[in-house]
């Protein structure tokens, strides 16, 4: 029986004044405290009784977490507190990383995007996360503050399972940064939901492609899948296929088939595994073709 509580359980709200204070508090209250950003995932789980933390530690607006910074020689840095609507509206994001804005615009509703953040989406580590795939394909790196200070964590090694990441007690992600995209990069995020908007992804296809002279095909494509594996799934052999063989309808179709073969989705209340696999194939092809049209010279 699914019967969540009407309201939130009792907890103490704590707002630390600095990152050091935040990390120390979280580390000294292991399994009792949880960092909180927009709260959109936390409150749902707390009503369900799944999360029973005694402390919610509000880490919004600490030290530089509220900024979008673009440096033409370095790349993009999005603070952890920056809400999705700001990312979507940012001229720097739209000019230099438009596919990131596209992915963010597919999340939930405007109201939820006022609270949801890219970093929060990533730390939540839901396999259905809309922005995680694109962030991985763009080479996203997390800046993490922990009890031992700052460190960087690549998204490639970040996800361990649904809701599980490499973050330790005391860790707070302060921002995500992306290197400058390779020249001529185009990307696409296609989300399949049950209705036309605001749904969770039944499957999510993230694709980027760009010219790369050193490959046999002259191009490089990367593709990541949401909602078909315990973690966001980057399809490695697709990248190989499309760097080695010349790009045409046949090879794109082969690549889409590779994406389908690479994933092992489950049956759940939202969709069946059979449908998910076929949609991975069909929508990967669609995304690959659209990116190809955008980058081919």
């Amino acid at each position: 029986m699914i019967n969540p509580h009407p309201g939130l359980p009792e907890f103490d709200y704590f707002k630390p004044a600095s990152l050091v204070e935040a990390s120390q508090f979280l580390a000294s209250h292991v399994n009792q405290a949880r960092p909180m950003m927009g709260g959109t995932d936390i409150f749902v789980r707390m009503r369900d009784g799944v999360w029973t933390d005694k402390y919610l530690v509000d880490v919004k607006n600490l030290d530089g977490m509220n900024e979008i910074l673009f440096d033409p020689s370095n790349g993009l840095k999005i603070g952890a507190s920056v809400n999705m609507n700001r990312v979507i509206a940012s001229s720097e994001v739209n000019r230099n990383y438009p596919v990131l804005a596209e992915a963010a615009s597919k999340v939930a509703s405007y109201q939820l995007r006022t609270r949801a953040t890219i970093v929060g989406n990533i730390c939540n580590a839901s396999p259905a996360g809309d922005t995680t795939g694109i962030c991985m394909l763009l080479g996203g790196v997390l800046n993490v503050h922990g009890v031992d200070g700052f460190r960087q964590v690549s998204l490639d090694n970040f996800f361990l399972g649904p809701g599980k990441t490499v973050l330790q007690a005391g860790d707070i992600v302060t921002s995500i940064q992306f290197p400058l995209p390779p020249p001529g990069l185009a990307g696409r995020y296609i989300k399949l939901g049950r209705n036309n908007s605001s749904d969770l992804a039944i499957v999510g296809i993230s694709v980027v492609g760009f010219p790369e002279k050193s490959t046999q095909s002259g191009y490089r494509f990367k593709l990541a899948l949401a909602s078909v594996a315990p973690v966001p799934l980057v399809v490695g052999n697709l990248e190989s296929i499309l760097t080695q063989k010349s790009i045409n309808d046949e090879t794109l179709t082969e690549a889409a088939q590779a994406a389908m073969d690479a994933c092992n989705p489950i049956d759940d209340v939202r969709a069946s595994a059979r449908y998910r696999k076929l949609m991975v194939r069909n929508l990967s092809l669609r995304a690959l073709k659209e990116v190809w049209e955008a980058i081919k010279q």
Partner: protein
């Protein structure tokens, strides 16, 4: 008549799209709904302990820990409440006694100083169950292998027109035996035989159910709630708990959506019995959205077998229908949907030979109750697809097939009586024209296919033969008018059209009329329920009678004062005028203080109060074996919808590009509000066609939240829904009006299904036509790879 010119000055409000009288108060946030009422610090909050099992025997309930939690005032179980409650069949206790029959069945209730404390107390209640084998399918439920969910069915009080089968799980078996179906199959040039499944869905009112109950010091009960049926709630609760009806007062403020879920009694009785144990304290029960999805009412599921045949020319000859309605754990309301579907089982067609068996079956699924359409959407979902298939089988265009067979004035109905004047053929023509039925537009992209589909419907108000309405009309010193009603505005606009009808019948400007709300059974006049799309017609008649009564009193008074004949007097724009002498007198003051007698000899008249009622007098029963009768229902509203869709071949997604609807409403008292019902009903129908189902596994609803129970958002609706009003007057409707509220949702599932077939050539066993089901259907049929 001399003063015809005065009369022409303001148009009658009938047929005018007057602005909603409650729009502004809702748009400013000032409208009070039941959860908004301030009760002060004395308010207690209730939470319910519910069964996690679909079917089990209660072995023990231990409430000691819950009772001793600080802040808990009382813990209640079914032990103290042996009575049965129900509208058409009294088959349920308020709190379970001995057995739980669905996941969510209330086992105990707590009242505490806060919702949080009550919730904690609920978790401290220990219930031991002996788990029993549940019934999870209605067809299986009728078999002799199925466990009996209500072994005492024979002992339940039941309405005279419902036929339970004790010793089985069948709580109603409605039959049609018309003509001779068996011998007719041989004469058919084409026959189609199909099975369709319609899942349970829920009404999803945006306002969840809420009720506040208080046992007053004098032993009388007050109940506030989001309610479509204050008087029925009073009656049912009184009968169950041994109150006298007049000792229960129900107050019903604005309702944030009902669609049938807030008719009859569901969760309100829980608040009541808890309140009985904490005299003097109001007790509020507010459901979570999750509870809303499966613990109040849901729409019945259906497994329907259709067989229909036509002759060489496409004329329907015979239909054989078997309906297994998944009625859920208690079918006190559901039994009547079974009946309504039975007596409507031919669809809006003339069919000389019909055999129908409509079974309401107990299962251990959530409790089913009335949902917009009352069995008609579920019935038409499959029936209108079969009609399409039969037409195509015979090589006849689906519109032409319907043209041949649809009901016309005088047609013989499945219950043996005749169809009253109907605009159904007009609706069909107008919709076919508006959707450009003959034309096939190219798809918008190479991976899409376009299709058009059409479906018709009919529905009568399903209610007891003597469901009544009443109204009063009183005036104030400033000449303004107050109309008392017992029906509710759920958003459909009942209060506004009430004001229009009262204004027209009395002779005052629409803006002068107020409706006395909130409905309060202490002061408001009796109304059976706000269901069945019956208010404009039934309550409208009562209002007209009451306003006419007031008008007669006023005219008689003035006639006496002027020594004229009341026949020469009229009320125009709130002024009494004489066509003969051309004298005038405004309504002000006279309607309270009367008029002086000539020569200072005293006074005449007094405060004007008009009263009126309406109850249909002519509804007869139906033969329990044949389902035939002289007049089973009061009337039918008929209509047609068509849609144009595109199907994405890569994903199976169905896009509804355009919708058209036409309904014969007799007379549109407020045309824009009638159109608004047609639009809203279309979208709710679209949502049920494409997205909605309660996914039940082992009796547990897997998706009781908006995350996984998808309803249409603004992004899912077509940019255009064309709505056409047809008016063939209802002989006993006010200005010829009949209802529209439910009908607008009825044909949408089959219209979309028929359009999908036109686009990609596949049919599914039932809604929702999700992208997955459509894609896999196309895959399995070889339409896509």
């Amino acid at each position: 008549m001399a003063t015809g010119t005065i009369k022409a000055k303001i148009p009658s409000p009938i047929g005018e799209s007057k602005p909603r009288i409650d729009a502004q108060i809702k748009a400013t946030g000032a409208a009070t709904y039941a959860d908004d009422i301030q009760f002060g610090v004395g308010l207690l909050h209730a939470r319910i302990k519910r069964s996690p099992h679909p079917y089990a025997r209660i072995k023990s309930i231990d409430v000691t820990k819950a009772k001793s939690l600080p802040g808990v005032k009382v813990v209640v179980t079914g032990e103290d409440f042996p009575g049965y409650i129900g509208l058409y069949l009294r088959d349920r206790h308020i709190f379970c006694r001995d057995y739980v029959r669905y996941v969510g069945d209330p086992v105990a209730g707590v009242a505490a100083v806060s919702e949080e404390v009550a919730e904690k107390a609920v978790e401290l209640i220990d219930v031991e169950y002996e788990i029993l084998e549940p019934v999870l399918d209605p067809e299986f439920g009728t078999s002799s292998n199925a466990p009996l969910i209500h072994p005492n069915l024979a002992d339940y009080e039941v309405a005279s027109f419902i036929f339970p089968k004790p010793g089985t799980n069948i709580s109603n078996h409605f039959k049609i035996r018309k003509g001779d179906v068996e011998s007719t199959w041989g004469k058919c040039a084409a026959i189609v035989e199909r099975r369709y499944r319609v899942p349970h869905i829920q009404h999803v009112p945006i306002e969840p159910h809420v009720a506040i109950a208080k046992l007053e010091d004098d032993g009388k009960l007050t109940l506030w709630g989001s309610s479509q049926s204050p008087f029925a709630q009073r009656n049912l609760i009184a009968q169950c708990l041994g109150f006298s009806q007049s000792d229960i007062r129900v107050i019903a403020p604005y309702v944030g959506g009902g669609f049938g879920s807030k008719a009859g009694v569901s969760m309100e009785s829980l608040a009541v019995v808890i309140a009985l144990k904490v005299k003097g304290r109001p007790v509020k029960l507010l459901l979570t959205r999750e509870e809303e999805f499966y613990t109040t009412f849901v729409r019945q599921g259906l497994v329907a077998y259709f067989k229909m045949g036509c002759d060489q020319n496409g004329k329907l000859l015979a239909m054989e229908n078997t309906f297994y309605w998944d009625g859920g754990a208690y079918t006190e309301y559901g039994v009547n949907m079974t009946r309504a579907a039975g007596y409507s089982s031919s669809g809006p067609y003339e069919v000389p030979n019909v055999k129908t068996d409509s079974y309401c079956v107990y299962t251990n699924h959530p409790v089913t109750g009335p949902m917009r359409g009352f069995g008609m959407p579920e019935l038409h979902a499959g029936l209108e697809q079969c009609i399409d298939e039969l037409a195509r089988e015979k090589g006849i265009d689906p519109v032409e097939f319907r043209r041949i067979n649809c009901l016309k004035t005088g047609s013989i109905l499945v219950t043996g009586n005749q169809m009253h004047p109907t605009g159904l053929p007009q609706c069909l023509e107008k919709v076919a024209e508006a959707i450009a039925w003959e034309k096939k537009a190219p798809p918008s992209a190479p991976n899409r296919r376009r299709g058009k589909g059409i479906a018709m419907m009919w529905k009568a108000p399903a209610m007891p033969p003597n469901a009544g309405s009443s109204a009063w009309v009183e005036l104030t010193e400033d000449g303004r008018v107050n109309v008392g009603v017992g029906g509710q505005d759920l958003g459909q606009g009942a209060f506004t059209v009430s004001a229009q009808m009262a204004a027209a019948a009395l002779g005052v400007p629409f803006e002068w009329v107020r409706v006395a709300t909130p409905v309060d059974t202490r002061y408001s006049p009796y109304e059976w329920q706000t269901v069945a799309s019956r208010l404009t017609w039934s309550m409208g008649n009562a209002i007209v009678n009451a306003a006419s009564d007031a008008r007669r009193q006023i005219l008689d008074l003035v006639a006496e004062a002027w020594e004229e004949n009341a026949e020469n007097l009229d009320i125009i724009n709130g002024v009494v005028v004489s066509y003969l002498s051309e004298r005038e007198i405004p309504l002000k003051n006279m309607v309270i203080y009367g008029l002086p007698k000539p020569n200072d000899q005293g006074w005449m008249g007094g405060p004007i109060v008009g009263r009126g009622n309406f109850m249909p007098k002519y509804v007869t029963g139906l033969d329990s074996e044949t389902g035939q009768g002289a007049r089973a229902v009061v009337h039918y509203t008929t209509g047609v919808q068509a849609v144009e869709v595109e199907v994405d071949l890569d994903t199976g997604k169905v896009y509804v590009i355009r919708g058209v609807a036409a309904f014969d409403v007799g007379k549109a008292i407020n045309p824009e509000m009638v159109k608004a019902q047609m639009e809203g009903g279309f979208v709710q129908g679209l949502s049920s066609a494409l997205f909605e189902s309660l996914q039940l596994k082992g009796g547990v609803v897997q998706n009781p939240s908006f995350v996984d129970y998808r309803i249409a958002t603004s992004a899912d609706v077509p940019s255009e829904i064309q709505t056409i009003i047809v008016e063939v007057p209802q002989d006993d409707g006010p200005w010829g009006a009949r209802g529209i509220g439910e009908h607008a949702m009825v044909p949408t599932i089959p219209a979309i299904a028929n359009a999908i077939y036109d686009a990609v050539g596949i049919r599914l066993e039932g809604p929702p036509f999700t992208s997955e089901k459509v894609f896999l259907g196309m895959l399995d049929a070889g339409v896509v790879k």
